[in-house]
Structure formats: structure tokens, C-alpha cells
């Protein structure tokens, strides 16, 4: 795996974590109101999948989508401003935490009705196929969403028409307070895809590289005309379902165990592990690979101290985002009506 890619993955995960933890603080302060579903613990999924996508691919997400937007490249400022309900938010303060959209980056929305993302992604994929474009559509959903009728209906259609759709299940083992064993007859979610002849794979969703690679492979198959693909990422959310949820239904030991597998520490370990020290590199001599590695180390990306710098960088981004959001104006009622009527063209309507 290339160094830049790895670095990017790590940075995205750190940014997501820092952003979400700060959002929780801002929620406690009252700067954010309403439902707030945070992503800590699941960063490897969003980072791995979205980084595997190209800029012309589409992303459809649910209400736990702040990190997806950040990873996709939406400035933290606009994401935070949306959480604050301000005019500079991604959705002009109209959508909020669960409804972030970024048309320019093909971030096709956060949706709050469980299961709703599938048909929407299906429709985009249908369009791509109809136009024979080399694009793919990535659809995120949780383990609870697979029990919604739309999941089933959409998978059937996607397979029937071989649409370029990558289905990504973020299996964090819970639908709010209901553990997967209590909501799904078959808990290996990827197995459901067999009912539609959709190739499916389960990956360790705490390992960003595995997720990234699985997504790459799946996207390649899609671009090769292989039709829809399914990836189940096993992961865990460290927090409650939303800020309103203390999460007490989960055994403390279970939460602890999963925290030990924190995808960010794992990614940090991965980076530190994979690249040799300068001494080792020197011993290896000035060969081709060694040169590259040496260059990377020289560039200072891999040392522990640099990870700290990365943390600082993302913290600064988040701090800036909060300041930006605080200063962003409240949207007006006129703006609200304009958004509602953004559809109107030249029609002379009553």
C-alpha cells in the first residue's frame, strides 16, 4: 500500500475522531441541539471505503454521516456549521446532523429514515448504468437497516439490472439498543446478499487497510461490469447510539473489549510497524524499495512524533471549524423558502 494513501487514511480517521469528540462537547454546551449520532470506533469503515472511491463516484449515507462527509473532502467548517444549524452549513442550516449534502463532491446526502439510502443509491446507480458511465455509487447503512424492506427490494433490482452499486454495511452489532442477534435471523449480514446473487465479503471493519482493499477490489469488479457488490464491515461504536443514548444496554466488558481494538490505534500501529527505521533502511542499502522508504521516513511522516503533529493538525482544523460555525450567521426564513423553491424554473405557477 502506498505511503500517501496510508497517510491519508490515518489523517481522515484522526480528523473524524477529533471532529466527533468535539461535536459531543459542543452538544454538551448547547451549541448543537437535536439528535447527534457519532462515529467513533467506526472510522476505519468510512476512511477505507471512501478513500477507495474516485472523485466521480457517488456517496449515499445515513444519519451517522459527518465523518463520511469529512472524509469525502467537505471542509470541516461546513460540516460543523451544519451541526450548529448555521447558514454556512453544508445544507444551509436546513438539514442538520442527519441531512448533510454536498452536491459538488457527489455526497448525495444523509438520510434519517433507516433503509432509505438503498433506493436512492439504486436510482443513482441506475442512471450511471443507463448512461454507461465509469462511475460507481457507494451506499452506507447499518446492520439494523438490512431488515427494512427497501434493502431487499433494492438489492434485487440492483442485481437484476447489474447496477454499479457498492453496498457497505457498517455492522456495529446494534440497532440502537437491540443487538444483532435479537434483530436478525442470520447475523452474518453478508450472507443475505446471496439471495440476490450479489458477491459479498465480510471484512474486519476495525482494520482500515483491509476495508480499503476490499472496497478497491469491489469497485474494480463494478467497473469491470460485475454488477453490485456487498461488503460487510464488522465494527463497533464506542459511544451510545446518539447523544441521547447512554448505551447502558451493552455490557461494559463488551465495550471495553472493542475499545481495545480501536481502529485508529490499529492504523497507527500499522504505519509504525510497516516501515523500517532509518537504521534498518541504511543496513538494507540504497536499493529501489529502500530509497522510497527512506524518502518517506525522511519526509517525517511516520515517526511517532509526526502522528502527534497530525493530531494537532486535525485538532486545529476542528477548532477552526467550531469558530467558523459560531460566527456563521443564522439562516433566514427567506432562505428557507428559497431552498424549498429551488426547483422552480420559469413556470408560471399559481
Amino acid at each position: 500500500m502506498e505511503r500517501d494513501a496510508l497517510h491519508r487514511l490515518l489523517r481522515d480517521m484522526l480528523l473524524s475522531r477529533a471532529f466527533e469528540e468535539r461535536a459531543a462537547e459542543e452538544y454538551a454546551k448547547g451549541n448543537i441541539v437535536g439528535f447527534l449520532h457519532l462515529y467513533p470506533g467506526e472510522e476505519a469503515v468510512g476512511a477505507g471505503v471512501i478513500n477507495a472511491a474516485g472523485p466521480s463516484d457517488y456517496i449515499v449515507s445515513d444519519y451517522r454521516e459527518h465523518a463520511h462527509a469529512l472524509i469525502r473532502g467537505t471542509p470541516a467548517r461546513n460540516v460543523m456549521a451544519e451541526l450548529f444549524g448555521r447558514a454556512d452549513g453544508m445544507s444551509g442550516g436546513m438539514g442538520g446532523s442527519m441531512h448533510m449534502f454536498d452536491a459538488r463532491r457527489r455526497f448525495m446526502g444523509g438520510y434519517a429514515i433507516v433503509g432509505e439510502t438503498c433506493p436512492i443509491a439504486l436510482g443513482i446507480a441506475y442512471t450511471v448504468a443507463m448512461r454507461s458511465l465509469p462511475e460507481a455509487v457507494i451506499c452506507f447503512f447499518g446492520d439494523g437497516a438490512v431488515n427494512q424492506g427497501t434493502f431487499h427490494e433494492s438489492l434485487n433490482m440492483a442485481a437484476l439490472w447489474r447496477l454499479p452499486l457498492l453496498l457497505v454495511c457498517e455492522n456495529n452489532h446494534y440497532a440502537i439498543g437491540t443487538e444483532i442477534h435479537r434483530h436478525s435471523a442470520v447475523v452474518e449480514v453478508y450472507k443475505r446478499a446471496a439471495a440476490y446473487n450479489i458477491p459479498a465479503e465480510r471484512v474486519d471493519g476495525m482494520d482500515v487497510i483491509k476495508v480499503y482493499e476490499a472496497a478497491r477490489r469491489a469497485l474494480e469488479r463494478i467497473r469491470g461490469g460485475g454488477g453490485p457488490q456487498f461488503i460487510e464491515c464488522e465494527t463497533y461504536r464506542f459511544r451510545g447510539h446518539s447523544m441521547a443514548d447512554p448505551g447502558t444496554y451493552r455490557p461494559a466488558v463488551e465495550v471495553k473489549a472493542h475499545e481495545a481494538w480501536d481502529p485508529i490505534s490499529a492504523a497507527v500501529r500499522e504505519i509504525e510497524f510497516r516501515y523500517p527505521t532509518p537504521a534498518e533502511l541504511a543496513a538494507a542499502g540504497p536499493d529501489h524499495i529502500g530509497q522510497l522508504a527512506a524518502h518517506m521516513v525522511e519526509a517525517g511522516h511516520l515517526a511517532e512524533i509526526e502522528i502527534e503533529a497530525l493530531r494537532k493538525e486535525v485538532n486545529a482544523i476542528v477548532e477552526d471549524a467550531v469558530q467558523f460555525a459560531l460566527q456563521s450567521p443564522q439562516p433566514t426564513m427567506d432562505a428557507a423558502w428559497a431552498h424549498l423553491n429551488c426547483n422552480r424554473r420559469h413556470e408560471v405557477l399559481v
Binding site: 449534502f101 429551488c342 426547483n343 422552480r344 413556470e347
Partner: protein, 333 residues
Amino acid sequence: MSQELLYWQALNRAMDVEMAADEAVFTLGEDVGLYGGSYRVTEGLHAKYGEWRVRDTPISENSFTGLGVGAALVGMRPVVEIMTINFLPLALDSIINGAAKIPFMSGGQFRMPLVVRMPGGVARQLGAQHAQRLEHTLMNVPGLRIAVPSTPQDAYWQLRQAIASDEPIILLEHELLYFSKGPVDLLADPPPMHRAALRRAGRDLTIVTYSRHALLSQDAAAELAKEGIEAEVIDLRSLKPIDWDTCASSIEKSHRLLVVEEDCRFAGAGAEIASALAERCFYSLDAPVRRLAGLDIPTPFNGTLEAATIPQVSDIVVAARALCQSGQESKAS
């Protein structure tokens, strides 16, 4: 320049013209393709435009309607056919929570050039699960528009306008109108999509109505004329928005309003029509606004009872006559 067409043919022409003009237009639904559509609206299009643009779907209403929403997000102009409005409850999430809200929720980043067409209404003995009207269900949803053509000409115009519009538009077609005939001018300029039509002028009372009952009301007005009662008949053509001005100017002249609808009375479309106009025209009214509507009962299968649950021409005549008298009585008293 106009020719006689059946209502379904007019819709079929409209589809054809729009599909030929813009590759972004495509249609999907159960049996719209090979089979040619349950009411023939999409007849011939599959052969002409191919399966990607005329897509037969599985019986998955919520998801294929949602497919339309997704496609509209990326600039397509999907025309979703829900085989009948009775299956609308299954697809409602995609319409209410999706199509109607995304342009707003996204802060105006996305338009929603989606059309959803649905046959509906009480036809002939299809039973309670296949005789629904459900206009009210969609009327309350901000962000939607609803057209209810009663003539082949309007069917042609309004479907074309709906496809051309960037707003999500619901087209409610009445099952008993598909085989009604009327002149259609394919080239004439249409009135604005949501403008009401004055179908008959009169001075004694105003009848506001829509869809199939616009035709029945015109028949009733002809009857009433024989008794010397001149009813003005307004065909709304659109249930959202409603062209209040056209209605109000008529009432200011006639001083009496009868709202006629096929929908169940309680909280039906007529409730909005009557309450808005009663408020606006309060000082012009000589008598209470009357609603003549379907009975608040599921539709019986038996044909005689079925007919008894929705207003017939004779019911409109009786109600109009009573309304004209009731005002006079009160003035006398």
C-alpha cells in the same frame, strides 16, 4: 388542429413527445414495458425506447419510487408509474420523506424533477383495497405538487408540464377516465399547470370540483339549467397548489359554493377547498359552503352499494338545488 383522443392516448402521446425530446426522461413501473402498461399509457414506448428507458420493475413500490428519487438527484427526469394509487401507501416514504424534502433539506442543492403517475378513484367493483382516492394524503406534504386532469387535453398538457418541471409532481389519473374521449390540440400553448378551468359559466352557485367529478358536475349543471339554476363549474385541475383566485371570483358573483369530490368526506380534499374558500369569501357567502363527497366507509364490492358511496350526477343536482334554496330560506327567515 385538434384531434379526438382517448385520455390514455393523450398521456401516451405526452410521454412519447417528452421522451423523444429529452434523453433524461425515462419511465419505470410494474408492467410499463413489454406489457404496455395496465391502462396502456406506456404502450409502444418499450419497443421504441428500449428497456433502460422503459423499465419493468419488480413489485417493490417503495424502492422503485425511491429509484426515481435517486435518479432525479442526478439530473434524470423519471416518470414513475405506480400501478394504482392503492399501492401508494407502500411508496409513501420515498415520496414524503424523499422527493418532497430533499431539495429543501439539502439547502437547495438538488432539484427533484420527478413525476409520479397513479391511476386511482372508484372504478367498477374492484373492492375496498382497489377503490381508494387518497388525494388528501399527498396534499398535506409541503414540497409536492398534484395535478388531476379530467380531460384528454389536460392529461396531455399536464403530463408534459410535469415532466418539464423540476419540482416533484404527482399526476392523479382517474381509472374511469382512461377511455373517455376528447379533443386534444397537440400544439396549442397550455395554460399554467396549476390554473383552474372554468368549465361552465353560471350565476346561481359555484361548483368547485376536480378529476372525474368535474365531468359529473358538468352533467349536473346541464340538468340544473333545465330548472333554471345556472351553476358555474370550476375544474381545479390541480390540488396543490389550488388556484384560489379563480374560485373566489366565481363565489363573489354566485354567493354560494358547493364542493364536489369523490374522496371520503372526512378530511378529504374538499375540507381544504371548503375551509379556505369559506374563510376567504366569508362576506360574499349567502349560505354555508356545502361539501358533497364520498361516504366515510371503505368501498363495498357490491356494485349498487359502491355507487351509493360516491356522489352521482343526481346527488349533485339535489345538493345544488338544496344549496340554492337554503340560502334563500335563511334570507327570508
